[in-house]
Subunit: 329 residues, 2 copies
């Protein structure tokens, strides 16, 4: 008998996620496998802030969506023998019966001897988000000044390090002194605890006279409004996330940025990383190289136990994670 545990959406999100949104369901998925099918067991799962926004994809009663790294435990498919590590978009579930392997099993990155959990972080979607979302939209040039918020997070910490590789001055904002210390270790030139500093004063110090060339935004809201005031003419802004807004039932309000966008001739672009899907391997290859060379460091915040997934997810909005949030089954 194979009992699959899965986290389902008990009720729609309304404001911050609470435990009432989640329901653990057990399901017997024992079945005689047909030819071509494989049974997989989750090894690592991921929680990411963007999942809060996917209500259209999350039906009440359905399994929450998301990616996982899993191991093949039963196989009727010679391409995927028992023990094979695979990447699945099968949601928050402990076991997955894969019927159409060619479609359901996603291509895995060349991982060399890196930890498999990185497939969900630096070598996975968050890594490619940083790589393409920063390089393609911000087009950073050597000597330029780069600002990133949510800077100790899965994406932000990579953006800052890529910016250093490209020869930029890097300013990061994060949510604790400990996180800021780590940003300094990573080579950030300035790191501020946004809970303690005045954002304008900090930017006046780190980027005097409105000298931010590139701004990679994970946060949105009034932070972004303020940051736009510190940009240089022809500055580029990559809008990657709006974590400050995900849990609001209405959009946050504040001074509207359009006149500033005009005056400084800014380019502000939002993106979802899958637009670069065709170029994914190019990003993975360079990221792997940088990790091997010690130019990119990563930190994971590992929560043990499938049962704790909701807790790990809710923690994202409290800044409880320090590094990429990973669930180890």
């Amino acid at each position: 008998m194979v009992i699959c545990k899965k986290w389902t959406l008990a009720q729609r999100f309304d404001g911050k996620p609470t435990s009432a949104n989640f329901k653990l369901v057990k399901e017997d998925i024992s079945e005689k496998l047909n030819d071509g099918e494989v049974l997989c067991e989750a090894v690592y799962l991921t929680v990411d802030p963007y999942m809060r926004t996917g209500e259209a994809r999350n039906a009440v009663g359905g399994t929450l969506f998301g990616e996982q790294v899993a191991k093949v435990t039963v196989s009727k498919n010679p391409k995927y023998p028992v023990g094979t590590i695979v990447r699945l978009m099968s949601g928050w579930r402990s076991h997955t019966l894969v019927k159409d392997a060619g479609k359901e099993i996603l291509r895995s990155a060349e991982m060399s001897d890196l930890p498999l959990s990185l497939m969900l972080g630096t070598m996975g979607m968050p890594g490619m988000t940083a790589y393409f979302g920063f390089l393609e939209i911000c087009q950073p040039k050597k000597g330029e000044t780069v600002l990133v918020n949510g800077a100790s997070g899965a994406v932000g910490s990579l953006v800052g390090q890529i910016a250093k590789i490209k020869g930029c001055k890097v300013i990061g904002f994060a949510g604790s002194d400990e996180k800021c210390d780590w940003l300094k270790e990573l080579g950030f030139d300035f790191a501020y605890n946004y809970k303690k500093v005045d954002v304008d004063a900090a930017l006046n110090e780190a980027a005097p006279e409105n000298s931010v060339d590139c701004f990679f935004d994970n946060v949105g809201g009034t932070f972004t409004v303020k940051a736009l005031n510190h940009m240089k003419t022809f500055g580029r802004v990559s809008i990657c996330g709006s974590i400050s807004a995900y849990n609001d039932t209405t959009l946050p309000t504040g001074p509207l940025p359009f006149f500033n966008i005009l005056k400084s001739q800014l380019k502000v672009e939002g993106f979802i990383v899958y637009r670069w899907h065709q170029r994914w391997q190019e990003g993975e290859k360079e990221m792997l190289q940088w990790i091997k060379e010690g130019k990119i460091k990563y930190k994971e915040h590992v929560t043990e136990g499938f049962e704790k997934m909701p807790e790990a997810f809710m923690g994202l909005f409290e800044g409880s994670n320090f590094g990429k949030a990973i669930i180890k089954v």
Copy 2:
């Protein structure tokens, strides 16, 4: 004796311009001209909304800045004999003593037999603003849907017509029924009086299911926030003006747009037209061709009398002008 009349800034703008901001000063500029110098008399002057924002360039007591079309009345420069029509950036003044003709006399467009006042409108800065600001930033494609506000203005009416030339569906918002009627005459597919309609309802009608591909924004503020909700994925937004904000001492507030920019992967870019200075002639040439072919129509709102410049300027923020505001001396 040559008496030059000039409008100076009596006190800094604070909120809407009022007559207290302007002072008419007379100055005797009779001088024996040196070799190379010319004396010019203004024929047409222009008032444009952007002038409200140029306080850094407008010193209290100084002449208000701006462009004019003038005629040479005295000449000691064989390149500019008496009667030559020139373009000057000499400000709100009736007479100009040009000392360094090579520098102060701006290149004039090839006007064919068009009215000279067009040098300040369709064939001048507003025309190039529409041409480059729309085509370069919005990159409109045949069959796409284009939204423009301030649509009956000097720039907006050209953007809509260029969009029609490019084979787009065009939606315009203007401030009176009469203006909307004219937009329909120009070939706009939809024209709404923003004072009478609900912007969301109008856009749901004209661009169902968020199908605006390109948005050329002259207005800013909450109109822009709303419009961003009606854009298609990968939509392009050209931020040309923020007339709704120019007279505010603080920025208007409203729901912040960053999450919408992210979700729809929009590209929002502000510009000032002089960035395309090197390509000016390319724009003039095509605009001239379109005018000759009857594909671009223009409307001027001519105020007679140099004394009425402040009045014409103040009217811009009330929507009193219908077409490009021109002062005929």
